[in-house]
Amino acid sequence: MPMFEILDKKELAPHIKWLRVHAPLVARAAKAGQFIILRLHEKGERIPLTLFKWSKDEGYIEIVFQEVGKTTYELGTYEIGDKIMDIVGPLGRPTEIENFGNVVVVSGGVGAPIGYAVARGLKEAGNHLTVIAGFRSKDFVILEDEFSEIADELLITTDDGSYVRKGFTTDVLKEYIEAGNKVDFVFTVGPVIMMKFIADITKKYRIKTVASLNPIMIDGTGMCGACRVRVGGEIKFACVDGPDFDAHQVDFDELIMRLKQYQNEEEVAMKRYLKKGGC
């Protein structure tokens, strides 16, 4: 089978797509919390995407992504049988999975796929698993079935209250802790601003918390430093030192600022793509 051929595809929610891709070398080494970098074609950029599921035996990986910029929109147009030019991985350190006791995985939006990968690992390690998954609205809820299969408790929330309940993941986590539930460990992944507020809460309660970061990357092997983040005052490269870091040490504001680095260029690329009738 040709490398990096798309084997299956689904739209999970508006502009959120799921792909199964033939990538046996990545699949055989993948661990929860790791990511890949892909390049669609000769003129493409390299973008990191987190690993959702994989099968060593069948040689595939699964990724879930949201169409937010030119490259992800273009990837969204790839159909079953199409090939992605380059995929490298698995990259980054795997999430440190151990039996902490009672763990809470807090995911926001398309942080859900990596939240799922890590949650599954934590469950398999014997933890009591609570998942708090936040989404914008009912239409954007993804992976509910997958989460409910592994979680001892699944707490879904929507920003507008159109499904299950209204509120942010921070509200749910706070209520959960204040209700007297014992929490030994929190893993959080999603929008940076959400991770920042989750970290603020758990810091107050002195709960060990790890955040999975998503900065801009190029090579993903520690060569360029585009992904540098400040953790405990030190410069770290998320691609090789992370992507997981102690959430209480991360400078989230700086990460938010750095993620906006190419906002103008991203708009230019997107407009040009749409004008050419890309999708």
């Binding site: 070398l25 490259t71 490298v88 410069i235 090789v240 690329a269």
Partner: protein, 476 residues
């Protein structure tokens, strides 16, 4: 009757500075046949082994190939070079010949030294133009497998030599294109990428299996390679950029040279939005550092449209480690040099974009361990320089991450892999060379390592896999 000696070196045609800062085409156009023969005729043809050869890290028979140019025998010239150097199109462009072969040239006593670099390049270019490859005598297969990790100068050379000896060679590259620093680091205008591709193609013709998109330490572990191969060569380079942890260093618009050059060279950001990878544009850019990488970054900046480009160096011009030819090219192109200054802080706007570098003046003190006079900041001399972007080109260190799961592989405090004089690491069957053991050197020194390591690997595999109990660290 004695021939009249031509004292003057034949000039190499170059693109005009005003034109070339608007394109990424090669600056040096290289010799024509006519000019090459004229320059070649200046060579005194010293007896073997000539002084120039002694300065060559890869032992090229220099008078030999120059003689073949005079005979208009390009294939012959190419084969003489290829006997010891598999990458002539690359070395002819990026070797510091003035510190190597040309330094020893006898002609220097009576006039200009022979332009060995440009003659070597002429041979490679002419052969490529005519589609000539060196003959590849069939070798007896040894039935043993060697993995080469990294496809930069050290890896390419080791792979070429090993495959010529009859080994099955597989070369692994983490990026999507082979070539290492030759592809991501050195800019198109100094080393066109089609030349690197051509040399890699020849390696594939020789039978080297080149696999991209595989990160050793991630996709495969080093242990897995050792299970599958009889020996492993690590030519993983010095790919981790150094940055100064100064206030504001993570502001937007502040790049490592690796990132800046990778965006431009590997990802073709200068063609954005035709290519998808962007790079920050603006009017003023400052590069911090005084080596070849700093010069490359500064000259790239001009070509992507920066109007004022500064090189900020903490010592003086004579201490710069960049090649003289590159410094001159940068000066011709309008790069502004600021000596005896160091950055202390970066200031940004409300959106986190870098706007000002705060600099401090230095004076030179006593020589440091490198033999160069140490810069000492002069209190109270701080001043600001307005910028839209900054590039750190203050050096790289080896990428430790690749081997962090391999405790047996000993590294130095600087992060370089410890090897003995036969390029053996502290892990049996694993050899290493190039910047991964040197820290930071040149393309040709890495090639020399690849060559000598290939020889050491052959010795190891031919003599029943002996390995010393203790590795005596070699000095590089």
């Amino acid at each position: 009757m004695a021939k009249k000696i031509k004292k003057k070196r034949i000039a190499v045609p170059e693109q005009d500075p005003y034109a070339r800062i608007h394109n990424f085409n090669e600056v040096s156009l290289g010799y024509t046949w006519e000019l090459a023969i004229e320059e070649a005729s200046r060579c005194l043809q010293c007896p073997y082994p000539s002084p120039c050869m002694k300065g060559c890290p890869v032992d090229v028979n220099i008078p030999g190939f120059i003689k073949k140019i005079l005979e208009k025998d390009i294939k012959g010239a190419l084969e003489i070079i290829h006997a010891t150097n598999s990458l002539p199109g690359i070395t002819g462009r990026v070797c510091p010949q003035e510190q190597q072969c040309e330094m020893n040239c006898i002609m220097g006593k009576v006039g200009d030294k022979i332009n060995i670099g440009k003659l070597g390049r002429f041979v490679a270019d002419e052969a490529r133009k005519q589609g000539i490859y060196p003959s590849t005598p069939s070798v007896e297969k040894k039935g043993k497998k060697v993995a080469v990790v990294g496809s930069g100068p050290a890896g390419l050379t080791a792979a070429a030599d090993l495959v010529k000896m009859g080994y099955d060679v597989t070369m692994y590259e983490a990026l999507h294109e082979p070539g290492g620093v030759l592809i991501y680091g050195i800019p198109e205008f100094r080393l066109p990428k089609n030349i690197v591709r051509y040399e890699v193609k020849f390696l594939k013709m020789l039978g080297v299996n080149v696999i991209t998109n595989v990160v050793i330490g991630k996709t495969f572990s080093l242990y897995e390679l050792l299970n599958e191969y009889d020996a492993v060569f690590l030519g993983t380079g010095a790919g981790t950029p150094k940055l100064l942890n100064l206030p504001g260093v993570n502001l937007n618009g502040i790049y490592s040279a690796n990132e800046f050059l990778t965006r431009i060279n590997l990802m073709k950001a200068y063609k954005f939005p035709e290519y998808d990878t962007p790079i920050r544009k603006g009017k003023k850019l400052a590069v911090i550092g005084g080596g070849n990488v700093a010069i490359d970054a500064a000259r790239c900046a001009l070509r992507i449209g920066y109007e004022e480009v500064y090189i900020i160096y903490r010592r003086t011009r004579e201490y710069m480690t960049a090649r003289e030819e590159e410094i001159i090219h940068a000066e011709e192109e309008g790069v502004k040099f600021m000596f005896l200054v160091s950055p202390v802080e970066f200031l940004g706007d409300e959106n986190g974009n870098v706007k000002v570098i705060r600099l401090i003046m230095n004076e030179l003190g006593e020589p440091d361990s490198s033999g160069r006079r140490r810069p000492i900041p002069i209190p109270g001399t701080e001043f600001g320089l307005e910028v839209d972007a900054v590039v750190f080109a203050i050096g790289q260190k080896p990428n430790k991450v690749l081997y962090q799961e391999v405790p047996e592989l000993k590294t130095t405090e600087q992060g370089t892999i410890v090897v003995d004089e036969k390029y053996r690491t502290t892990l049996k069957g694993v050899f290493a060379g190039g910047d991964a053991v040197r820290g930071e050197a040149t393309v040709v020194l890495a090639m020399g390592d690849g060559k000598k390591a290939a020889k050491a690997i052959d010795e190891y595999l031919s003599n029943g896999y002996p390995w010393p109990d203790k590795i005596e660290p070699a000095k590089f």
